[in-house]
């Protein structure tokens, strides 16, 4: 294979081949084969990239096609009808949509401030040697499968809430006009509040790690200038870091929200699966994903199945919009940091 002490490209590619580079007809053949292989590989990779787009297109297309019977049967009422009755085949998505929004709202209400505070701790206060371990530990929370949160929530967290937090909320707010209906008993343990709190724990790592990343991208000069003027750490965070990173933080929050909206297993365990819109967050409810997970395999009749798929379509559209906004905002801050 060695010709004149150097290995030619053709040899390198076709190692073990029998062609010598000096033999010109076969050299042309080898180059031709390389060219064809090159084009083939390029086309193959391009096809794979297009397949990713096709995947999204396929998901949307198939959901729309199979959701059509339900959407045609119920029309716009599907979105505002509370009743969900498999026996009479009357289906409305209001209760699952309401449950999805309420649980996600509770989750964000808790996860955003706590996630931001952890990010502040990690970037401003934490000693250098602890930063990586604590950061990794928080991210491990994101790695725990959602079914683990579910089983833990059902057997440990829900009974705990039933005995402690929920009776407290009921008695504390029982006599205050608006709050009394928000925290109306009895303490079931499972319910929308429990689901929201578990979602908060699951979303926390997303909010934390993205806020930490964007906080770290703040140019040190800006912070040093503020410290030089005598600002306290809190003032630096409040008036320099957060205004500078606002877009990125909102992007991180939206990303977490996207997760919370679509989360299935953890919620299915603790939501109670009741197709009711109730003002009290202590009552059992249902979410879009929990309804699908609980009922899809048992759904009989085309209209029932189609209604569940229509729910999936609604969920996909909502999360798609939220995630698209998140990515757009994060892209904007990436460009600013890069440029």
């Amino acid at each position: 294979m060695q010709s004149g002490g150097r290995e030619t490209v053709a040899d390198l590619v076709l190692r073990g081949g029998v062609i010598t580079a000096t033999h010109s007809p076969s050299r042309a053949k080898v180059l031709d084969r390389l060219r064809r292989g090159d084009t083939g590989f390029r086309i193959l990779t391009r096809a794979a990239a297009l397949a990713v787009l096709g995947l999204l297109g396929g998901v949307i297309f198939s959901l729309v096609v199979d959701a059509l019977p339900a959407l045609q049967a119920f029309g716009f009422n599907f979105l505002i009808e509370e009743r969900w009755n498999p026996v009479t085949e009357r289906f409305g998505a209001l209760a699952p949509i309401y449950g999805t929004l309420v649980t996600s709202f509770i989750a964000m209400l808790m996860a955003v401030p706590i996630g931001l505070l952890i990010a502040v701790f990690l970037t401003e206060l934490c000693p250098q040697f602890l930063r990586r371990p604590i950061g990794i530990a928080i991210e491990l929370l994101a790695g725990i499968p959602s079914i683990i949160y579910g089983i833990w929530g059902l057997f440990i967290f829900a009974p705990f809430l039933q005995e402690t937090l929920q009776p407290f909320l009921i008695s504390a707010f029982g006599n205050i006009p608006v709050l009394s209906s928000l925290f109306a008993g009895p303490p079931y343990g499972i319910g929308m509040l429990t689901a929201g709190l578990i979602l908060a724990i699951m979303v926390l790592p997303f909010v934390t790690s993205i806020s930490r990343d964007v906080f770290e991208a703040v140019p040190p000069v800006l912070k040093e200038a503020a410290y030089g003027m005598g600002c306290t750490t809190w003032e630096v965070v409040r008036y320099v870091v957060i205004p500078y990173t606002r877009v990125g933080v909102i992007g991180g929050v939206m990303l977490g929200l996207g997760r919370a909206l679509g989360e299935t297993m953890a919620v299915t365990f603790v939501i109670g699966n009741a197709h009711k819109v109730s003002a009290s967050i202590l009552h059992p409810g249902t979410t879009i994903s929990a309804t699908i997970a609980n009922e899809f395999t048992e759904a009989v009749g085309d209209l029932y199945t189609s209604s569940l798929i229509a729910l999936g379509l609604i969920l996909f559209v909502i999360t798609f919009i939220v995630l698209a906004i998140a990515r757009y905002l994060l892209l904007r801050i990436e460009r600013r940091v890069g440029g």
């Binding site: 096609v65 505070l117 929370l141 790695g143 499968p145 699908i292 997970a293 999936g312």
Partner: protein, 283 residues
Amino acid sequence: MAFNPTLYGRRRRRNGIAMGLSVAATVFGLGWLVLILGVLLWEGFSGLSLAVFTEMTPPPGASGGLLNPIIGSLILTALAVMIGTPIGILAGTYMAEYGRYDRLTSVVRFINDILLSAPSIVVGLFIYEVMVAPMGHFSGWAGAVALAVIVIPVVVRTTEDMLLLVPNPLREAATALGMPRSVVVMRVAYRAAKAGMITGVLLAVARISGETAPLLFTALNNQFWSLNLNAPIASLPVVIFQFALSPYADWQKLAWTGALIITLAVLALSITARVLAAQRQTS
């Protein structure tokens, strides 16, 4: 300006409160991790025995193990990785090597990032519609494809990121030697990015090994020993789901044990991935 002790004191107090809260938040966050892992170890370890790995899932009231769901999960995961990884790597290669400045690449990147966090239950619905409904029955293949759909975005993302980190002079040097583009990619760029790409696959495995929602109506579940991929096949997450929600104490016990096995596997995978990634950065 004169020194104002009240203002100074207020600012210091406010700072103290905010910093105290951020420490408390961190302790709170870490507390959940400890609490969840602690309970899992406590509940799971007591049920851990050899029988868990050698016996089939029992009927209610009898003793048994988790052999068929463990094997089922391994098969589904392996198949999903075999289907999803090549597509993901090829797509990532296009984005980083051929179409780095293409319009198509930025569109694919945007869509891929959305697929990365799309609700996995919708993936289950999608595969149900395109595979289970036309075939007329639940099957292991459908489960594997559903998981592969979740693998692809993870692998695309890491492959592209890792290939973008490969220094351009390497590619230029290889091209100067007369190598065609495909050889440069496969012999030079892939080799330089190997550790990162393996990390991506490990992360994808970690992600799918706990996924339950996409399997619920694709692979379904199977009480019995079955390796037939054209029939419903048991998987660990679905068995945990079913057993945990059952009223039988034996089943709940097995669910905890299964949860412990999955969590340990996932944590081991993600820590390995991190160590690999960290090694690449330092070397």
